[in-house]
Amino acid sequence: MSAESPVGESIEHESARLHVSGRALYVDDIVLPEGTLFAAVGQSEIARGALIDLDLSAVESAPGVVTTLRFQDLPALTDVGPVFPGDPLLVNREVQFYGQALFAVAASTEKQARRAAQLGKAEYLPADPLLNIDAARAAEARVRPTHQLIKGEPEAAFARSKLQLNGSLQMGGQDHLYLEGQASLAIPTEEGGVLVYTSSQHPSEVQKLVAEVLGLPLNLICVEVRRMGGGFGGKETQAAPWACLAALLAVKTGRAVKLRLPRVVDMTLTGKRHPFFAEYQVGFDTEGKIEAVMAQLHGDCGYSPDLSDAIVDRAMFHFDNAYHLPHARITGERWQTHKVSNTAFRGFGGPQGMLAGEAMMQQIARSTGRDPLDVRLANLYPAQGGTTPYHQPVRGEQLERMLKRMEQTSHYRHRRSEIDAHNALDGRFLRGLALTPVKFGISFTVKHLNQAGVLLHIYTDGSVLVSQAGTEMGQGLYTKVGQIVAAVLGIDIANVRMSATRTDKVPNTSPTAASSGADLNGMAARNAAIELRSRLQHYVAQRESIGADQIEFADSKVSWPGGEQSFAELVYGAYLERVSLSATGFYKTPEIWYDRDQARGEPFFYFAQGVACTEVSVDRITGVTEVRRTDILHDAGMSLNPAIDKGQIEGGFVQGLGWLTTEELRWGSDGRLLTHSPATYKIPAVSNRPRELSIELLEEPNSAATIYSSKAVGEPPLMLAISVWCAIEDAIASCVKGPVDLQAPATPEAVIRALGLID
């Protein structure tokens, strides 16, 4: 790599200039074709029951209405479940959550469509909804079967343990609250096909489902995603239904149809992070070193499977977090409730599993009287020979080093004694401190998804266009892939333009998810760029009668002993010599496997790691908490773009902080979501950011063979916020005898409860 390589530089986001001037186009901003119609969705007003009659006459006669669509109008596939069936596009007979889509309507204006959608008259035979995990457990209602990880002989080892405790933790869900809501624009094309613009992390799945609901082959459907106004997992499967409805209405009317969900509709109609309930029985020694654990992780999946199988799996895979569990049984349950179907959200179950494990660490510390950090250090994976509950080997050396470094740089021990002294004064404000690690497995646990493709064009003026499988939701994927292509070709990144992600450019793509975007697409882009570079090398070698290894690409030039040429001149010469200047690149992650029947394997190519030390203040009068300071040391390998990676770390941390403090989902007893807008559902605002926040990158190469030795960085930092929850627990523990019963999110009321000040 030459000194000028853009890889590893803090290059600005490829759309930054468009963002700041409001010129970046999102789906809702696209100039509409003449006669475009606007769609809206009619929603159910019960959570569970039979739909007996649906009278749309008032809808159809409302001003501006052009057509309606109900279950009976669906021409082909009616179930848009992404992995398993269970997600009807529109309700046929069975209503399964409050607000479920009963019908769609298209009208001349958006307001007309939305008003008409309120006019549907539905008759139901209501049934009692299951609205929480307890109710689902009592009814034994599951969306998928139980799965279990077993290592060693947990029950026997537990029985032998000197110390034992039982614990449990209630964890809330989380709405994605991407600032741009779900939106799709479908434009009819020839032969009954459709071009769909959508805000989706998974264009290929949208293409497949649109084709299937229309009963068409995939090659008649094209899906384009230029950018999303935030995704966070909420547009992995949740974008498809709206694209399907828009496409069906477009084909039905022969006109373009836009379907954009207003915020309240978006929040009531799309899935969220799974609420979880965790229970554990743990045996340990007097030092707090764990000997055996039996843990049950209960996911509230909502009404259908969606991605819950993999999400609960990932929760199970992360209960161990950074700790060696010599004997373990980890059980994952997928409970069915009559709520919107919960879905992917940054961390994909990992945060819930990990929080349960970290809550257990806090509890062991309370039980042994040791500092929680010492309990953590005692339980870390050893340098050699450790294996996870799913039998993947783990080396703990690097994370131990990170923890010890943070212990020093954050002055953990000194601050601990200061905080103890402060809390001994028994004043209004308590302080708490926690230093917690994150170890997060990187790869899709569904093996076939670990692939990506890139289509790379070089035009005759030397400008480069990259089409790739991954989507841009703000995480900087396009920027990183552009940097990689520029580095391989030795050209200025200004000459590399990123095309929108389109299913007719790169087919059969995986969702941009599991933090894998840069790992997969970056490698595929590199492979494509290397292919084109070698064609150009070969051309120069022949022309100059030299060896290909004597030719270098750098500084927007190609040079060889005795000569050089600008990249643009070289390209034009190659074109005249009829060298193909377009190539595809492909990549699949090596080595990974998981045998689900045996609950054994190496599902992760590597682990991303981080540590965070957080200090909080807790008001004993109101329960309001404030994060006074957070220090983060995060392992992004050799960062492809430190500014972007730090942005992911801070953004992920603050998003996790929201999940664990202010963001509380509440449902009414009828199953209606009560916190359905940012007026009542509070994501972090600027004042929730820690008063002091420092972020440092580890900058050590990944030992796995990844793109420029970098590490994935999308999801792992969210779990650094577990330090916030543990610090709140720590503050409460300073004045509560026995175990601290603190739920997540630690809202002001939850804190007052945990302090024992109300029942």
Binding site: E12, A16, D29, Y178, E180, G230, A685, I758
Partner: protein, 460 residues
């Protein structure tokens, strides 16, 4: 017809529906897609635009949420959106700073943040960390964690030169009374006439609550009468220890006054809405909408404030505590509006505290809003007035509780003594924000804090 200034030109519009929001107008009629819809309820700031108003010192900019502002309120203002700041491909210094500081990720909230930063830097030279945080408190970002945005505003502030440029054009625009769906009368007399000529009207006094009916419930509001330009409703006057607040006073204006004169109220105002909301929301609107969670009423109730009502026929006064007659109901009669509110300023030996409890500090609805005015003599509580929001269907005066506590010695005001009394006299609800238990606890604990630690901030 309305007239406003945009990009150095006067724009005229003659037939905008009254309930067309500024956001809809800009996106659909002007194709200005730099203004984004994130929530259409004034909670996220993605639609933030700046409005310039001609004042004594030239053009003064303030930020508003376009999603809940009637488009016709543009009249007589300069409009600035993020798309207007760049010149061709040449970015504005604030925009450049956002780029160099990596302050955008998905970019959807970014234009709104740029405008909030613009308004800050047009008004404040060399802003502090606190001022920057306050300026962007009404803008939500789900990607960055805010650090790079704060850094960008700092960076831009270092070399910022102000940019007001439309004073001449704005002075050409005359006040306009009416013409189409939204009337903007400029005097009470004009209001009386407008009311006579406008069947089925709805009054809008800021609209930060009312417009939600339009954007969230899709209720048409074909005839609106805006109270924002009525001269007699503006202004804050102090006479002989008594202050009179015009009903048209915005939260922002109230905040400026309270910062000088009544700091507990100022502290509360910082936690009501955001700059965008405080720039639009008014005292009269907050009281008139009779929201059970309106935050000014508890304060005014505790201060024993009087409310003055005006109609074309007559004026009358009553205590604020008697003004609320039920959930979302007031003593206002047909054709009657709130003219002003007045109260005696707390004196040197008064204790006056205001506490707002909410899940999030900024821009959140109160779980509990509690204002206390108390006075001790010889360690005995000789006067006490408690205003409460979030504890009942309307803002209330905790009258029986006050009676019970009056004349007690400070030693009888411990938590163990107070908590059962609070429980006996107040009956809050469980709702999505908190349980009744929690509200009762906070109420008692805060009361103990006020009465025992005498934490009240006296008037300067």
């Amino acid at each position: 017809m309305i007239e406003y200034v945009h990009r150095g030109e006067i724009v005229r519009e003659s037939d905008l529906p009254a309930d067309l929001t500024l956001l809809e107008y800009l996106r659909n009629e002007r194709r200005n897609t730099s203004v984004k819809e994130g929530c259409a309820s004034g909670d996220c700031g993605a639609c933030t635009v700046a409005l310039g108003l001609l004042g004594a010192e030239g053009v003064h900019y303030h930020s508003v949420n376009a999603c809940i502002c009637p488009a016709a309120e543009l009249h007589g203002r300069e409009l600035v959106t993020a798309a207007d700041l760049a010149t061709g491909t040449q970015l504005h210094p604030i925009q450049k700073a956002f780029v160099t500081q990596h302050a955008s990720q998905c970019g959807f909230c970014t234009p709104g943040f740029v405008i909030s930063a613009f308004v800050l830097l047009e008004n404040v030279t060399d802003p502090s960390q606190e001022q920057i945080a306050q300026a962007i408190a009404g803008n939500l970002c789900r990607c960055t964690g805010y650090g790079p945005i704060i850094a960008a505003v700092h960076t831009a502030a270092e070399t910022y030169t102000r940019d007001a440029r439309s004073a001449d054009l704005l002075s050409e625009i005359a006040p306009s009374d009416s013409g189409f769906g939204l009337s903007l009368p400029t005097s009470l007399q004009a209001l009386a006439e407008t009311i006579d000529h406008t069947p089925g009207f709805t009054l809008v006094a800021g609209g930060t609550d009312l417009m939600l009916e339009v954007t969230q419930n899709l209720k048409p509001k074909p005839q609106l009468i805006g109270l924002s330009r009525i001269a007699e409703l503006s202004g804050i006057r102090e006479e002989e220890g008594r202050v009179t607040l015009g009903a048209g006073v915005t939260y922002t204006q109230l905040l400026q006054w309270a910062t000088q004169r009544l700091s507990p109220l100022a502290n509360l105002l910082w936690h009501i809405g955001s700059d965008q909301i405080r720039n639009r929301g008014t005292l009269g609107g907050n009281l008139g909408s009779a929201s059970p969670i309106g935050d000014l009423a508890p304060v005014l109730i505790a201060l024993d404030a009087e409310i003055r009502l005006w109609s074309p026929a007559a004026e009358r006064s009553m205590l604020v505590r008697d003004f609320f007659t039920g959930y979302r109901q007031t003593a206002l009669k047909e054709r009657e509006i709130i003219r002003s509110v007045s109260f005696r300023l707390p004196q040197r030996d008064d204790i006056f505290t205001v506490d707002k409890v909410s899940k999030r500090r900024e821009d959140d609805i109160s779980t509990l809003c509690q204002a206390v005015l108390a006075k001790f003599e010889n360690d005995h509580l000789v006067s006490l007035s408690i205003g409460l929001g979030g504890m009942a269907a309307t803002p209330i005066q905790a009258e029986s509780l006050c009676q019970e506590l009056l004349n007690r010695h400070v030693a009888e005001l411990s938590f163990d003594r107070l908590a059962p009394l609070v429980r006996a006299h107040l009956k809050p609800m469980d709702d999505l924000r908190a349980s009744a238990e929690y509200r009762l606890y906070c109420c008692a604990a805060l009361l103990v804090q006020t009465l025992n630690f005498r934490e009240g901030v006296n008037v300067s």
